[in-house]
Amino acid sequence: MTHLQRSRALRLLCTLGAVASLVVVLFPVYAVVVASFETTLTLLGNTYYFVPHGATLANYQVVLQAQAGHLLTSLIVGVGTAVLALVVAVPAGYALAKYPLRATVVLVSALLVAQIVPSIVIATSLFKVFHWIHLLNSYPGLILADGTYAIPFAILVLRAFFFSLPNEVMQAARVDGATEWQTFSRIVVPLGRSAVITVMVFAFLNGWGDFIFALTVLNGTTVEPITLAIYTYLGNFSQDWGAVMASVVFAIVPAAVMLVVAQRYIASGLTAGSVVG
């Protein structure tokens, strides 16, 4: 074998390895899509079919009727979480990066630790606290709770980004007579656009995918996001896998959209999570 042939064979081997691992990684998603087109009878049978077997759209009809409202709820919660994260995190990230405050070290440490706190700990207490201040079963309550996933992360990512802004930019604005707020809102935020988008994408996905707070601070009648609805539906009709899988397809649509539209923000956010600061 010549050197060229060997490297070509090696490359082929790599491609094969990559394809094999992708098959394993992506099979569950593929299975969901296939199942969403199967009839209940097929899915209840003892045989699993790897390709669609008697395709039907019935599941989607069921789901569009039953789950459309829940999808909208999740959309509101996701957008709400993204907005909350921005309102709280953008100014805070900026202040922690660019203002010489004594509390910075303490606050950044607190944010790092906050990321570690398990949600169930927060959920148990928030249930009682929300009960007390009448925030159970409400969008504001759920969004405030979902913010616990997104906000510490968002502040740290934005802080890391704002470090990279040259101080001269802000100084120039101040020399021109801009107030601190004007400097922030007209100069800093537009410059930080890509970090802001990363944070928004993550916060949206956090709010969209949340289940633990939906389970604890909602009782599923007034406000019921798609994750909770799927869980309830599965409890009610655990044999109706077709409809469950069609709901699942809808529940992962935003993730798929984000993957196509905002891939680079997701990748940078994922890795930024490890340095956070």
Binding site: C14, P28, L44, P91, V121, L270
Partner: protein
């Protein structure tokens, strides 16, 4: 991928940070600037105010209240009231003696250790694979993060479907290739139930490990790799002696964060086994939920929460230490 670089660069830029401190406007003195400095202090605090309020409300208050709850004797009758009678250490005594709680704690350790090992090995292997040049690597790389984007509850539902006793895809594959004679009762047997949630969790965690380790590998200077090749080091030696030491900081952070994520896992298990059969797959998180929200004994649930919190916070000092340079960088521009 700006952040990617950063992953490998934990602690790389402390020196620059210190330099920049001197350039930071706030550090200057001068009469006219003093008022400006104070104004900036005020502005800084105002920018921080929403975040501080939020942290107090959504983290400090729940944690403090959780500690209080753990010393209360609660029951279905006290759900509606904000406080309940003092219970002393009774709830902690419950944690120490209740068999299901004990097994939930043990399962959490097994689950966490198993997940980290599985995620690390697979994630690292994939990271090494995708560091090589071959056709299709770009698209493959972006597809690998798909599992991470699926909501955790949904992952649980999907795996419940795949691991069904009858008509489940996994059993069908095993039967087809002759690895099993009868369908395997994955979700109906205690040990296999635990294994199934482990497999599902590895699936969803691999992208995170992959992406971080992959970006770490990209930051190894080409000269270093070339030098190792010239020294005649084989692939295994190169990996052990050159690659791993260089990306060790990344590995540390990744494993640490992986630990934090895994200890918290809840949605996945609730959807997949709901702690069953017969509480055999309860983890600390799901059992705490069960105590508080299904048996309505919030005191016992809160006590178990505190055990979980202590367990998770064990890594806090390590985490802070790994992030020490970023912490020190209190003012001025970084990169």
């Amino acid at each position: 991928m700006a952040g990617v670089r950063a992953a490998a660069g934990v602690g790389a830029d402390a020196a620059i940070a210190r330099q920049n401190d001197e350039l930071a406007p706030g550090a200057r003195t001068g009469r006219g600037r003093l008022a400006a400095g104070r104004r900036r202090q005020v502005a800084g605090w105002l920018f921080l105010a929403p975040a501080i309020l939020y942290l107090l409300f959504a983290f400090a208050l729940p944690i403090a209240y959780n500690v209080m709850l753990s010393f209360e004797q609660s029951s279905p009758e006290t759900i509606a009231s904000f406080t309940a009678p003092f219970a002393g250490l009774a709830n902690y005594r419950f944690i120490l003696t209740d068999p299901t709680t004990q097994s939930a704690i043990i399962h959490t350790f097994e689950f966490t250790a198993g997940s980290l090992i599985g995620q690390f090995i697979i994630g690292f292997a994939l990271a090494l694979l995708f560091s090589l040049r071959f056709p299709g690597r770009t698209i493959g790389r972006s597809l690998i993060i798909v599992p991470w984007l699926v909501p955790l509850l949904v992952t649980g539902v999907i795996f419940k479907f795949l691991f069904q006793l009858e008509g489940g895809a996994v059993n069908q594959i095993l039967l087809d290739i002759g690895l099993a004679q009868h369908p395997i009762d994955w979700l109906e047997t205690p040990q296999l139930g635990l294994l199934t949630i482990l497999i599902a969790n590895i699936w969803l965690g691999v992208p995170f490990f992959f992406l971080l380790l992959y970006s770490g590998l990209q930051d190894i200077p080409i000269e270093v790799k070339e030098a190792a090749v010239m020294d005649g080091a084989g692939p295994w030696q190169r990996l052990r002696l050159v690659v791993v030491p260089i990306i060790l900081p990344v590995i540390e952070v990744t494993v640490l964060l992986g630990f934090v994520f895994t200890v918290k896992v809840f949605d996945l298990v609730v959807a997949l086994t709901d702690g069953g059969p017969a509480n055999a797959t309860q983890l600390i998180t799901t059992w705490s939920y069960n105590l508080s929200f299904q048996q309505f004994i919030f005191g016992e649930g809160a006590a178990l929460n505190n055990v979980l919190l202590v367990l998770a916070l064990i890594c806090a000092p390590v985490y802070l230490w790994l992030s020490r340079d970023s912490l020190r960088r209190s003012t001025g521009a970084g990169r």
